[in-house]
């Protein structure tokens, strides 16, 4: 059991957890617990040195609470010499082999290999007196090798159109899921982060136009939604691969209602009391006033409709389980009309009532899911929808002469005025 304590040692709010850990260490055998302390070595440019003093101080703080760390992992942006790690070992009272430098790297998935090669695995096993076999990281090493190779391959530009794009952490799983899928298909992933509000102000369109595929991830609140709707329209009309996640699926439906069905007043009732609420509050959600933990959350089944892009992406299995986080859903009153005009509902809840996946029929890949497939993507097992999306984006990249992509922004803007005009 590995237990990470959030925050840093010395924060007042973290004290109760550290005290609990101290007490717990008294109650179990000496070889049953171990503390790994992760610190940072700042670099002083003037003298060209990595400083260990902050690490010493933080270990002193930890000891004053009654916890002596067994392992120190020293994060740094620069190479660390043996002198520095020995010094940390001496002043922090930790075995020399238990001070492990961890330099910043561009590939997260390499961290286990760095720690293993620095001897951490064997040290932990020895200290905890675990009886284990030889470590087998060969699969992981192959995975990292493949990711490294993909980083040298041809770039695949994916636009992520969202509201919180300044903070990439807000889309951590989406970013990782795209990376898993791109690496598995030997593509170097380049994400263009586009703030959807910018599209509303006619900004960022050149970057959107240069993308081989567009992702609209989940979100809440009306700000930036119209920009996402514009991005969905752009993807549909120009047949650019599009993956909509949660809200990204909902804006795809609103866009379709407005511009294909001609329902001008279509919107989600999350944002306004729309004339055509094509996205509406779920029946089960009515009457719920508390906001915390009350959405439709977690794993639910989704049945796939044969012959659809989504079903093919999932290798034609009849049913999948996916993780959800939503309050609103596709309004079934509009289902027939959508279906007649070219949108297929390729994934449904087992009772057929809830639209889980929607897709545009006459399009290489325009799929939206009410669930969040990004939560199930693993580096060794990229998610099927992300894989299919990346494959479609790579096909578009390979089919397009480069100048078409580069010059696309010239004619993109024609779409924009009527859309913004209409909202005024």
């Amino acid at each position: 059991m590995i237990v990470e304590v959030g925050g840093t040692v010395g924060d007042i709010e973290g004290q109760p957890f550290l005290e609990a850990i101290r007490q717990m260490r008294m109650n179990v055998s000496r070889h049953d617990t171990l503390c790994v302390h992760v610190t940072f070595l700042p670099y002083i440019g003037a003298t060209g040195e990595l400083k260990t003093k902050p690490t010493q101080h933080s270990v002193r703080d930890l000891r004053s609470i009654g916890i002596q760390p067994n392992v120190i992992i020293a994060r740094t942006d620069y190479p660390v010499s043996q002198d520095v790690t020995d010094k940390i070992a001496l002043f922090c009272d930790v075995d020399k082999e238990a001070v492990i430098p961890l330099q910043t790297i561009d590939l997260l998935y390499e961290v286990p290999l760095i720690l293993e090669d620095a001897g951490l695995g064997n040290y932990l096993v020895e200290q905890l007196q675990l009886e284990v076999g030889k470590p087998d990281l060969s699969e992981w090493r192959n995975l990292v090798k493949r990711m490294r190779a993909a980083k040298q391959a041809e770039p695949l530009r994916i636009a992520v159109v969202g509201k919180y794009v300044e903070l990439h952490d807000a889309y951590m799983s989406v970013k990782e899921a795209l990376f898993h899928a791109a690496s598995a298909q030997n593509c170097r992933l380049e994400i263009e982060w586009i703030y959807s509000g910018d599209l509303e102000k006619e900004k960022g369109w050149d970057r959107l136009a240069s993308a081989h595929g567009i992702v609209v991830p989940g979100g809440f609140g009306y700000r930036g939604v119209e920009g996402k709707i514009m991005a969905a329209r752009y993807a549909r009309e120009r047949k650019i691969p599009y993956l909509g996640l949660c809200l990204g699926m909902q804006v795809m439906c609103v866009e379709f209602a407005r511009n294909v069905l001609g329902l001008e007043g279509a919107n989600s009732s999350e944002f306004e009391s729309a004339e055509h609420p094509v996205i509406d509050l779920m029946l089960e959600q009515r009457g719920i006033t508390d906001m915390g933990g009350t959405m439709r959350l977690g794993l639910y089944p989704c049945q796939l409709q044969p012959g659809t892009v989504a079903a093919e992406a999932y290798h034609n299995v009849p049913e999948v389980q996916e993780r959800h986080r939503h309050r609103f859903e596709f309004n079934n009153a509009y289902r027939t009309r959508f279906d007649q005009h070219g949108m297929a509902f390729s994934g449904l809840s087992p009772d057929g009532e809830l639209v889980e996946i929607a897709e545009i029929k006459d399009h290489p890949f325009m799929v939206g899911s009410q669930f969040h497939p990004e939560f199930l993507s693993r580096p060794n097992q990229p998610h099927p929808l992300f894989l299919a999306f990346v494959r479609a984006a790579a096909q578009r990249r390979d089919a397009l002469p480069q100048e078409v992509v580069n010059n696309a922004n010239g004619f993109v803007r024609k779409d924009v005025p009527d859309e913004t005009e209409r909202r005024k």
Partner: protein, 111 residues
């Protein structure tokens, strides 16, 4: 089941230096030795979960299979150790205090 062993991961000096990825990576190197591994995050804030927090403050809300809204580090854990975690894998100070206060009000703690 053999006795569980506990590795506690603390952070010093500054935050955001990759403590979550480090914990997740330790999970992977232990799993590579045939051990069963789970990773848990203790968050010192008073919110019950990050579900109602601004993504600017907190980053992504990661959803577990059993429907808990959790810290994004759980995403790293699942991706690195390739196991599905559950709601017990993210404990916040708010949950602990809420539990204690609820018991106190119900009189369960009276002597």
């Amino acid at each position: 089941m053999p006795k569980p062993k506990y590795i506690f991961c603390t952070g010093g000096v500054v935050s955001s230096v990759g403590k979550g990825v480090t914990a997740a990576a330790i999970g992977r190197i232990l799993k590579a030795r045939g051990l069963r591994v789970a990773v848990q995050k203790l968050d010192p804030y008073l919110n019950v979960d990050p579900g109602t927090m601004s993504p600017y403050q907190h980053g992504e809300v990661f959803v577990t299979a059993d429907g808990a809204e959790t810290d994004l580090d759980l995403g790293h854990y699942e991706r690195f150790i390739d196991e599905n975690l559950n709601r017990t894998c993210n404990v916040t100070a708010g949950q602990v205090y809420g539990y204690v206060i609820d018991k106190e009000r119900r009189g369960v703690l009276m002597w």
